[in-house]
Amino acid sequence: MIIDCHTHWGMCWADRDGDDPSRWLAALDAYGIDRAFLMGHAGMVHQDRSKADNDTVARIAAKTGGRLIPIASAWPQMGRAGVDEVRRCVEHLGMKGLKLHPWLQGFSTADPVLGDMCGLAGELNVPVFFHDGTPCYSLSEQIAGLARRFPSTTFVLGHAGLLWNWRSALEACRQPNVWICLCGPHRRAMETLCDRADPDRIVWGTDYGFGFADSIRYRLGLIRSARIAEAVREKVLGVNALRLLRQ
């Protein structure tokens, strides 16, 4: 079982394929990937397209018989309407998590509306994925700060600190409600994270879909070639993602 926990329905894909995921799914097939967490793209760079993008992601996922797991996004800048959008996506569209990108979306993790969203995600029992590894709004330690403030909410560091912030991601994992997604660090950092973080809170992803570039071959090869115990690799590639989904 391989589950890619970090993919996007990229704007270039939407422009070319509309709501048809068949070519996108063919890429998963080519690499034996069973399921993928699907996040939006347009709704994370254009506030006025947020709701429509959530609808699109939910609609596409519904065509795949559960293979694609839809993840919503929302904007703290929208105030109460942003919080309501989180509820709508989870309760009415059946979306399974929230993805936020403070760097792209331009908000601070100290934003009080973001706090409301994180609290609601905890109530609704869905994980909150964050872009991480990037100053000044998306550092792993800033997400860990949210995890301290909202202990009932599960947070996923979408990039495990990327290339230069992975030590902070490792520190962030001291919070029991922080998970990391291996999608960005170099191989040695991945090995260290698997060795020193809780192996039950590590998942894997590719960031596939932001463009047409094939990031799957590389990132799947990277995790497969990493020097980590097979039992841990099995968890990271699929078992943990199923648990994350059930939380």
Binding site: W103, G133, T134, P135, C136, H159, L162, L163, W164, G184, H186, R187, R188, A189, T192, A213, D214, S215, R217, Y218, G221, L222, S225
Partner: protein, 244 residues
């Protein structure tokens, strides 16, 4: 001729690459030679210790290893002297790592080092990608101030500065792009846009696996670009440094 543009040799903290292991990896990936650089601790503080280790390894394997040297610019005049000493003993590239060495890439702190390099050229490899102190546009600042010096933008600003790489590199001709950590599936777009004479293949072993990185790059880089990216471009820069 396949040349790996950046490898860290040594055993320290997350580094565990011995000479024998590196040679084995190079053989398995059909890599003829590799630029070797010291581990982070030696980049940051124990410059001479790291440079000596690199120089000794290169002396033992002169056809396989291309020795770099590194100095922390905070050491001031003694840093310049260490460059000159290392160069006299065979070092062929200067490595700067603003993140590890604790300075801003375009800080005037680094000018005395580059003044020395400008007198007797050798390429300057700068690790990039960390916000605030190692960005593509900071390398452009250096390249404009020192137009006779060839700069290698290590990691192409990965991850966050991928947007800046192409516009920054277009502004100056004396900046080359090194691929490690930038991921092959993204690096090919830079080379496509800027020209195959600007790209340099590097693995950043052992942080990433040398053989894996070469295998992945060979899958995506067009074959007509291989001669330059896989060694020709770097060798051209090195030859400038060794010209009488």
């Amino acid at each position: 001729m396949n040349v790996d543009g950046y490898v860290t040799l040594g055993v320290d903290r997350e580094y565990d690459l011995t000479e024998a292991d590196l040679l084995r990896a190079m053989d398995s990936a059909q890599v003829d030679s590799a630029v070797i650089a010291p581990v982070d601790r030696c980049l940051a503080v124990h410059n001479r210790e790291g440079n000596d280790l690199i120089l000794r390894a290169a002396a033992a394997h002169p056809t396989r290893f291309i020795p770099s040297c590194s100095v922390n610019p905070w050491y001031g005049r003694s840093a310049v002297q260490e460059i000159e000493r290392s160069r006299s003993e065979g070092a062929r590239i200067l490595v700067l790592h603003p993140f590890v060495q604790g300075f801003q890439a375009n800080d005037e702190l680094v000018w005395p080092l580059l003044d020395s390099i400008a007198q007797q050229p050798m390429p300057v490899y700068v690790h990039t990608g960390t916000p605030g102190n190692a960005t593509p546009w900071q390398i452009v600042d250096l390249a404009e101030r020192y137009p006779s010096v060839d700069f290698i933008m290590g990691h192409c600003g990965a991850t966050d500065f991928w947007n800046d790489v192409i516009p920054a590199a277009r502004c100056v001709r004396n900046v080359h792009l090194e691929s490690s950590l930038a991921r092959p599936f993204l690096f090919v777009a830079y080379v496509e846009e800027l020209g195959a004479d600007r790209g340099i293949m590097g693995s950043c072993a052992p942080l990433d696996d040398l053989a894996f990185e070469w295998e992945q790059m060979r899958r995506v880089l067009p074959a007509e670009q291989w001669p330059g990216v896989y060694g020709g471009n770097l060798c051209r820069l090195l030859e400038k440094g060794s010209a009488p």
